[in-house]
Amino acid sequence: MSFDATYTRELPLVEGRSSFRELDDVITKPLDTKPSVKWWIGFGISFTALMIGAVCLGLTFWIGIGLWGNNQPVGWAFDIINFVFWIGIGHAGTLISAILFLFRQKWRTGIARFAEAMTIFAVMTAGIFPAIHTGRPWLDGYLLPYPNQHSLWVNFTSPLLWDVFAVSTYFTVSFVFWYVGLIPDFALLRDRTKSGFKKLIYTILSLGWRGSNRHWQHYERVYLILAGLSTPLVLSVHTIVSFDFAVSVLPGWHTTIFPPYFVAGAIFSGFGMVSTVLIIVRKVFDMEHIITINTLEKMNKILLATGTMVGYAYIMEFFIAWYSGNPIELFVFINRAFGPYAWAYWIMFSCNVFFPQLFWFKKIRRNISITFILVLLVNVGMWFERYVIIVTSLHRDFLPSSWGMYFPTIYDFGILLGSFGLFFTLVFLFAKTLPVVAISEIKAVTEGAQPKHH
C-alpha cells in the first residue's frame, strides 16, 4: 500500500491562498460599505418581527399573561419553551470557541466569531423569557438575592434561582470571551478606517492594542483562561436548565437523564442554528472560501453525533419509564407518543432523529441545499422537543381530573416571532458593524501563514 500524502495532509481551512490584505478586505467589506438592499430587506423583516413581539409583550404587561394560552394544568408553555430553545441555541458558540479551541480544532476559526455572537444574542433572547414569564414581571427583582429590610432571601433550593445564576454567568463569560477575541480586530479596524467617528469608537474598544508581542502574549493567555472557564459552563448551563424539570416530581420531567440529554440537545440545536445562519452569511458576504464546505461538513458530523445522542435519550426515556415500573411515568410516555399531542412528538422525533441520519452520507453532508433544509428541520425539531417535554408532561399528570389541553394564542405566536425578530435584528446589526470572522485568527490558519520546515 502506497503512502497517500493527501490523506494525512490537512485540508486547507481557507481556500485559495488569499493574501492577508485580501482577507481584510473581504471581511471588513460589510463594515465599510453602505448596507445593500438585501441587508435592508432582511433587517426590515427581522425588525418588523421584533416589533410585533414587542406589541404582544406590551399588551401582556398591560393586561396580564392571561393573554397567553397557559392555564391549569399547563402553567408553562411558549414562555419556557422559548427560553429553553434559545438557551440551547446559545450553546454552539461557546462550544465552538472554547471547547474546540482547547482541542485545537482549527477549522473552528472561520465560524467561531459568528457562532459566539449568536450565542450572545441567543442568550439575550432567552434571558427575556424568564423575566417576562412571571405573573408580575415588575417584581422580578425578587429573584435576585439582595439584602433588604424585610430580611427576605431567595429560595436557594429552587432550580429557577439556579437558572438566574447559571444564565447570567454564562452570558457574562461568553460576552467577555467574545469581546476579548474582538480586541485585535478592533485595532485593525481602527487602523484601517478613514471615518473619524468610527476611529474614536474603535480606539476605545481596542483598548490601546498595538499588536506588540506582550499584547499577543497576554491575549493568548487570557483567551486560554476564558476558554477554560467557558468549557464547564457549556455543560453546566443546560444541565441547570434541565434541573428546572428534573428536580420536579412531575412524571416526564423527573428523570435523571435530563442533564446530558439537554446538553446534547443544546449543542445539536446550537449547531443547527449556526449552520442555518452561516449558510446564508457566507453566500451574502462572499465568504465561501473562508467558511468552507469542509467546515460545514464537520458541523454536519457534529449534528449527526448529537442528533443520535438525543435520539438515544428519547428511546432511553421510554425504556426507563417501562423499566421503572412506575405506571404514571409509563403513561406519560405512551401518552406523549400516542396521546393528543402525538403530532408534536413525531415532529420532534423525525426532525431530530430520523432526518439527521441522512448525514451519514458524505454527499448529503457536502450538499449545501440539503444541509440547509436539514438544519432548518433541526431548529423546528428542537423547538418541538421543548414543547413535548413541557406541554405534554403537564397536560396529563397525576390526577386525571385536572387534565386539560393547551391552546396557544396569537400573543404566544407573536412573542415567539418577536424572539426570532430580536435575534435576527441583532445578527443583522452585528454583520454590519463588526467583523463576522476573526480576522486576526483567520490569518493564522491560512495556507502559508505558518512557518514551515522544508
Binding site: 399573561i65 392555564n71 412571571t134 431567595v154
Partner: protein, 1040 residues
Amino acid sequence: MDKGADKEKNLKSDGQTYWRSFSELYNNKAFRDALNSEFSSEELNGLRKNSKSSLSRRRFLALLGASAAFAAAGCSNYRGKGQIVPYNKKPEEVTLGIPNYYASTCTGCSSSCGILVKTREGRPVKVDGNPDHPVNKGKICAKGQASIVNLYNPERLKEPMVNEGGRFIQSDWNNVNSKIKEALSSANSSGKQVALISHSVTSPTFKKIIEDFQKAYPVAKLYTYEVFNESARRSAWEKTYGRKSLPVLKLDEARVILSLESDFLGTDPNHIENTRLFTSGRDVMSGKEFNRLYVVEGAATLTGFNADYRIRLRTDAIEEFVLCLISELVVKRKISPFAGDSQVLSMLSGYKLDEFAAKHKLDQKVLNYLLEDLLKNQGSGAVIAGDMLPESTHIAVNFLNEVLGNSKLYSRESESTDVHPLSTSDEIETLISSLNSGNVDVVIHLDSNPVYHFSPDYSYRELLKKVKVVITLTEMINESAELSNFIIPLNDPLESWGDYKTRSGFYSLQQPVIAPLYNTRQKETVLLEWTGRNYSENLYHDYLKENWEKSVYPMLGTTASFDKFWFASLHDGVAFIQEKPEASGLSFSKDAFLKSVPMKASDGYVLLLQNNNTVGDGRFASNGWLQELPHPISKVTWDNYAAVSPQAASELSVNSDDLVEISVNGRKQVFPVFVQPGLADKVIEVSLGYGRTAAGVVGTGVGVDAGVLVSAKPAISDRLYNNISVSKVSGKYELASTQEHYPIDSDPLLKDIHKRRGIIREGTWLQYKEDPKFLEKERHKMDLSPINKPPVYAREDYKGYKWGMAIDMNKCTGCGECIMACSIENNIPVVGKDQVIANREMMWLRIDRYYSGTPEAPKASFQPMLCQQCDYAPCENVCPVAATTHSEDGLNGMTYNRCVGTRYCSNNCPYKVRRFNYFDFRDHFKDSYQYSESFDLMANPEVTIRARGVMEKCTFCVQRIMKEREDAIRENREVIGSNVTTACQDACPSDAIVFGNVNDQDSQVAKYREHELGYTVLEEIKVAPNVTYIARLRNIFEKE
C-alpha cells in the same frame, strides 16, 4: 475653605475679638485674599459664593422635595382609598374586627331554611346554616350561601321606576304609591280583578297581609306558582291518605331506600336535610351496617351516582315498574292484606316484573336483590318518587310503601305544612281567561317572574298588554318587570323582616342584618302601604311583631313576656311551639290507587326538565358565583344543555357541543348537546332556569330557556314529556366544563385510571366486614422502603399542634356546597365562561368526578380535591422567591405579596390544586363588574384580595386558624383543634369533612387518620399529604 472664609468674615462683622495673627487682626487685604484662596483650585473656585446659585440649600431641598412629591402624585395611579373613620360612638354589639352572627331565614326557594349570617362592621360577609334550625341544622345549600351576592349585586334596582312610553324613569315612592293606589281603587270600584302573582307563600304574616289587602280591595286574587313543586306528591298524598300535609320521612331510619327518578340528594329543594339523614346511615365510624340505596332513573342524577345499585330505566316506564313490583309482591309473593283483595289483584293482573325486566333489559339479579331487600326490611324501607313524576306514580308508590309497611317511617311528630297552597292549573287557567277577556285591571308580580316562568301556551306576555296597570316588585330587572308600568324595588332578604313556616312545630324568623343599601322597601311593607297604612321604616316590623303577639305567642303557653319570647326567637332564628300534626294516625285508602290512570310508556324520546343546584328556576341567574359552580355530574358551568346518553348520541349522530332541536307538541327549542354517560337510552335531560333574557350583565343570555317547552296541559306532568322529537341541527356551541372529557372505556390506557393510580380506592361493605384491613392489602404495589427515608430537605417536626383534614367518602355525595362556601369565604372571583373554557377557573376546592365501568352504565366516584398541605410539599422547594413556605403547624402557606408568579409551584403540584391569577379576574370578567362599589362590601376582610399574576390556593382557612390562635393567646390556653372549622366543613351537609389537630389523639380527625379505610392520594410520591380520604364502601352483594 470658602465656607470658612465666609464664616471668618461673619465672625468679624459679628465683632469677634479673637485673632490668629496680626495681619488678621489688622484686617490686611493681602492676608484676606490669601485666606480666601488658601485651598484655591479651579474646581473649588466654581463653588465660590458669588458664582453659586441663589438657591439656598434649604430652598433647594424644599424644591427637590416638592418636585418629587409632585412627580409622585402625578404618576401615581392609586385608587382613592376612601376614608377610614373610627366609630365616634361605638354601636352596641359592634367591635371592629369581631364578627357578629345573626339568625335569619333563607328565601332562595320554598324550603325556607334557617341561616346564620356573619357580619363584619355591619356588613354581611357570609351566610351559613343556622344550627338551631331543625330542618337544615347548620347547613345551607350553595344557593343560600351565594345569596349574599344578590345583596351586593350592583345591578339591584335602587329607586322605584315608572314606565313612560317604553322607558323606565326613576321616580319616588310617594308618586308611585299614589298612582298605584289610584289604579287599585279604580279597579276595585269598577269590579275588575286585581291579580297578585307570587311564588309559594310560606310566610304566615305575609299571608295575613294579603288577606288585609284583599279586604281593602275585594277584587284582589292571589295566584301562586312554583316551577319546581311537589304538587303531584301532595295531591297523591291527599287522595291516598286524605290529608293535605305531608309527613316528614325519617330517612335516617331507612335501611333500604328505593328512589324513583328522585334526586333527593341533589337538586331536591330539601336535599340538605335529606343528605344529612341519608348519610347518617352510612357512618363508617359507628360500625353499623350501611343502608342500601337503589335508584331507578332515566336521568343521571347525583342521587343515582350515589346509589349502591343504579337501574337505568326510561322515566315514562317507571310507573309500570312500580306496578310490576307491587304485582310481584302482592300477587306473586302474597305480601300484605291486599293480597286477598280482588280489586287490587285484577288491577295488577297485567303487570309482570320478569316480562318488564326482559323488555327493558333490566338486570334480573339486581331486581332480586331489590325485592329481597324490600321484603327483608318491611317497615324500615322507603320508596321515594321524584317530583316530576305524575300523581298516578305517587299514588302507586304510596301503595307500595303501604304494602311493605313502610308507612312506619312517616314521622308522626313532624309534617310539612302549607301556609297557602299553590294555585292549581285550573286556577291559573282562570287567571289567563280573565286576562284574555280584559277582566283584569291590575297585575301585581310579587317578587315573581311569570313572563319567564309561565308556559308559552298561556301567551302571558301578550296578555299583559290587555292589563291597564302591571306592577312588578323585584330586586332586579327581569322579564316581567320589563313589561310593567311600575317597578317596585325590593329589599334583599338580608335587609328584610319575615316569618316562615314549612314544618309543624316551629316558625322560622327572618331579620335584617343590614339597613337597605338603596331606596328599597320590602314587599310586605309595600302591600301594607297600598292597603292604606302610612310608611314608616318599622311598618312591617311592627306588623310582624303584633301578629306574632296575637297568633304565635299564645300557642307557646309560656309565662315569659312577649318581648322576651320575641327577642329570644330572633336570637335563635326559630321559635318552637306546641303543635300537633293534623292527625297522628294515617289511614290509607286504596281507592285512589284503583282509580288512578297509570302513566303510559312510549318508545320515543323522553324529555325531563330538571331542577339544578345553581340558578334554580332562573331567579339566581344574575349570580355569577352560582353560574360558575360546576354541575355536580357533568362539571359544566355557565350553561344548560341537552344531556343525551351515548347510545342516543350515536343514534342522533351528535357529539358534545353539537346542537339538537327538541320539539314537544310544536314547541321547539335548540340546545347544545352534552353526552352524559349513564343516562337511560332515549332520555334527554335539560335543566330549567336558563336562557333568561333580562337578568343583568351576568345572567342575560346564559344557556337556553327550556321553559318554552313546558306545556300548560301536559300529558304526563309539566316536567316530563314522552314521544318528543329530537333532531340534529347544524352548528356548534362550546360548553365550559371544568373537567376534561376522555373516553372512559375505549382506551385501555385511560380506563379506570383513577383506580389504577389509587386516587379513588373503594370497596364493599361486605368486603370490609370480612376483612377490615382489606384496603391495606390493596396498597400501592411499589416497594416504598427505599424512598421512605427522610427527604433531601429537612422539615418541621410538628411538635405542637398540626392541622389535618379527613374526608369521609362514604358521606360525601359530591353535591358541591363546599365549593361555594370556599369561594365566598376566601373571596374567590368569578372568571367567566371563556376562562373556564381556557381551564382557568379559580375555585380552591373542586370535586373530582371519575367514571368507571361502561359509558352506558358507569359508576361514578366523587372526590373533593383541595390543597393537601403536604409535609414535603413539592411546591415549596421550587419557588425561587420562597413565596410558599411551610408553617410549624403543618400548613403550606402562601405569601401573596412575595409571589412573582412563576407558576413553577403549580406545575410541580401533583394534585394541581393551585390557582393562578392569569388576569385581574375581577377586572377581566364582564367589564370590571366585580369591581362595582357594592361588591367591595362583600369581601371577607380576613382574606386578601389577590392581585393579577399571583398564585393562590387553599390554606385550610388559615384566617380561622389565626382567629383561634389569637383567642388561645388572649385566653392563655392551648390552641384547641376542634375550635377551628374550615368553611367547606361548615357547609358540608353530611359532615363528611373533618378538620382539626392531628397531634391530638382524641380528636375526631386523628381517629379518621388512623382508620383502616383511610388513605392518602398519590402516597407513592412521598409528599406526605395531610388530607386523609376514607375509602368509599358500596353496600352491594357482589365483590368489587
